[in-house]
Symmetry: C2
Subunit: 421 residues, 2 copies
């Protein structure tokens, strides 16, 4: 297709989505849940087709030399298909995120003013290789009354289309338009360029993927973007902290999973605790194969560690590596975090009330924790029921984004003939 053809094609998807979004916004909770459960049934019935499409793509991916991690993410085996079905059932069980009218107050003029929770309209989701995101994203959008246009990775187009056919059949069975969920049917990169510049058809873009992808989309989009950049997370062990608790939290924040955005990358330790705490920590982490990179002061208690450089403070390792820095007090810890961190998730381990309050107030991150592992920064652990991503933006949605992040509030005014004087 030429670029003009692609624009026409994308605008066609956009028109379908915009029309479908009107039907979805009117659909009852019952109807939206019916659609989710019907899709689950269709996925179950079509599992052989989905796996067949996926196997062909896996073969192509291996031929093209994609690494094992990528191939693993691309794979749709029985466990992942069951996971997709479970996801649909879980989202169907969640309470309705739309329709509530809150904060209704009577004004001096006599009008009553409130805010009604409504869908955003059409959500564009751009993601990389994991085809199960097709169901995660579809289920959240349908539940929140939004239409969606999905652009997945080129290596998983056939898998995504096989899943999308199930979604379409489920929507139709529930009496909803199949254009409520549409997968972009071309792997041409120009489709992304078109998608992020059609504000008449898409209300918000949610990119999920590597930093490069997200930065490019943010730069070129003229539609609002809910983005998820990196997670350079910290734990600060305060003066007088319970060191056994600090040990457990640091260990968990670093080693529970290395590749997640809420994993600790730098540990900060108050000077007063360094001599007791660091040798114990080193023993625990080195037993698990974690490489330590320490500042000069920390090195005094960690002779086996490598030297940390300035670059380490900026780095999201996503690997069994931990940077360690000794700081004089909570002020220096906060300054370090706000300077080098990515405003994602940071935790203090402390027994001191005032410093806990100060840390909570002054650390400028989407999640700030007291005496808990950074690994808790997650939609499920926060009780959101599901998660479309973790926003590192400050506007609209910050931190784990659940169904509410896919809604807006409009003002509703109840009058009895009032006019403005």
């Amino acid at each position: 297709m030429t670029e003009m053809d692609i624009n026409d094609y994308m605008h066609g998807l956009g028109t379908g989505a915009r029309n479908a979004s009107k039907a979805l916004a009117k659909a009852s909770l019952h109807q939206r849940n019916d659609a989710l459960l019907a899709i689950a049934t269709e996925i179950e019935a079509s599992a052989p087709d989905i796996k067949a499409a996926n196997v062909l793509e896996l073969i192509k991916a291996r031929e093209a030399g994609l690494d094992e991690a990528m191939c693993d993410r691309l794979t749709l085996d029985d466990t992942r298909i069951e996971g997709m079905i479970a996801n649909l059932e879980q989202v169907a069980a969640l309470p309705d995120p739309i329709g509530a009218i809150d904060e209704v107050r009577t004004m001096p003029s006599g009008i009553r003013v409130g805010k009604m929770r409504v869908p955003l309209g059409v959500i564009g989701i751009i993601y990389e290789s994991r085809p199960n995101v097709t169901i995660e994203a579809s289920s959240l959008c349908i539940k929140s009354g939004n239409a969606t246009i999905l652009r997945g990775g080129s290596e998983s187009l056939r898998s995504n289309e096989a899943i999308a056919r199930c979604v379409a059949r489920g929507l139709i069975r529930a009496g909803l338009p199949e254009q409520a969920v549409q997968v972009v049917g071309t792997t041409d990169r120009a489709a992304v360029g078109s998608m992020i510049t059609m504000p008449d058809f898409i209300d918000v873009i949610v990119p999920r993927g590597g930093k490069g992808l997200i930065e490019r989309i943010t730069r070129d989009a003229i539609i609002p973007v809910i983005k998820h950049l990196d997670g350079n997370c910290h734990v600060y062990v305060d003066s007088g902290a319970d060191l056994s608790m600090a040990l457990d939290i640091s260990d968990n924040a670093k080693t529970h999973r290395y590749g997640t955005c809420n994993t600790m990358e730098t540990l900060l330790v108050a000077e007063s605790e360094a001599s007791h705490f660091l040798p114990q920590l080193s023993e625990r982490l080195r037993a698990k194969g974690v490489e330590l990179r320490a500042c000069t002061k920390a090195k005094a208690f960690l002779p086996e560690a490598l030297d940390a450089t300035e670059a380490d403070w900026w780095t999201e390792y996503l690997a069994p590596i931990l940077a360690i820095r000794v700081v004089s007090d909570v002020d220096e810890a906060i300054e370090h975090i706000n300077r080098y961190g990515s405003h994602h998730t940071d935790s203090i381990v402390t027994e001191h009330h005032g410093r806990a309050e100060q840390f909570m107030r002054e650390v400028d991150s989407s999640s700030v924790m007291i005496n808990a592992s950074t690994r808790f920064a997650d939609g499920f652990e926060y009780g959101l029921g599901a998660e479309i991503g973790i926003s590192t933006d400050k506007i609209h949605a910050r931190g784990p984004v659940g169904l509410m992040g896919l809604t807006s509030q409009k003002y509703v005014v109840f009058g009895s003939g009032q006019v403005r004087v």
Copy 2:
């Protein structure tokens, strides 16, 4: 200045603002209110200087041939200066928009999770000729704990700088950094280009001005924008409506002020009411000099009206002109509004509960009203205390934007040593 010099200059302002935002985020309510009141005192004391700077700019504007409306907006007379002082005092009297922790719930893991209301950081405001916006914007940003960079119209730079000197002195007197509020000191257009592409220094852009300015900023910005586009507002007079109420609301929505974004531009009338309602309305509005443009069906009852064309349905007149269309029922009214309207403010006049509910649910506008004049869509009338603008966006803030629109919520987690299993 060359473009590179301007980038350096803007990054200098940005660095100052970013640092100041940290001090503001920590400042107590008392300190922020002190600053607002100190600024009011400074404005009062410096009124002669402000007026002197303004008079010179007015002379230049008249020489340059600016029209009277523009010159009026540029003028800072005693009334406007008193208005600025009153604005500062009003904002100081508002409750603190930041610091509240809401929705705290205990999760199965034992952590307690809540959301804390915090400032956004640095807000960039780009506006046209009205120099009193300098105070409106400064007061809202200071109150909400945000630093701000203000870029006003080139014809009012000296007036804005005179006001900014008062703001700086007031901030210093309250012990806050003067960089908390900075006016861009160059009229070079490249400064705007720089401002909307420095996400490291500015968290959100609020443009206030004509549609052209706002569209350009939205297109080129790589920072989130809270925008206010046009207001093509509707009143729909439903079948069986109280026609005396419909008359008052229509009259008020059209004629209370012609140039505001919440003024009605198209009136929709149910077919059953057209013959009774339209002649009465015509009498009321023509007495006030309003030109009527009617569809074919409406013309049967409005022989004196001009013919409305498709273009009229799309137009925000901001003038004593009203487009009138007869529709068969509420469905057709909703369809017209969602198609031709600008999703700003729309009202139904009805006595029918079901149709009121349907209109409220299905009209996709930032304010949807039942039996009230569209003129109520306003931060003060909605009890927000003040308003930075009316957002036609769906994400972050929709409709009138008060202090809350300049805040974000971060997650706060209270643990007692929990780790993730």
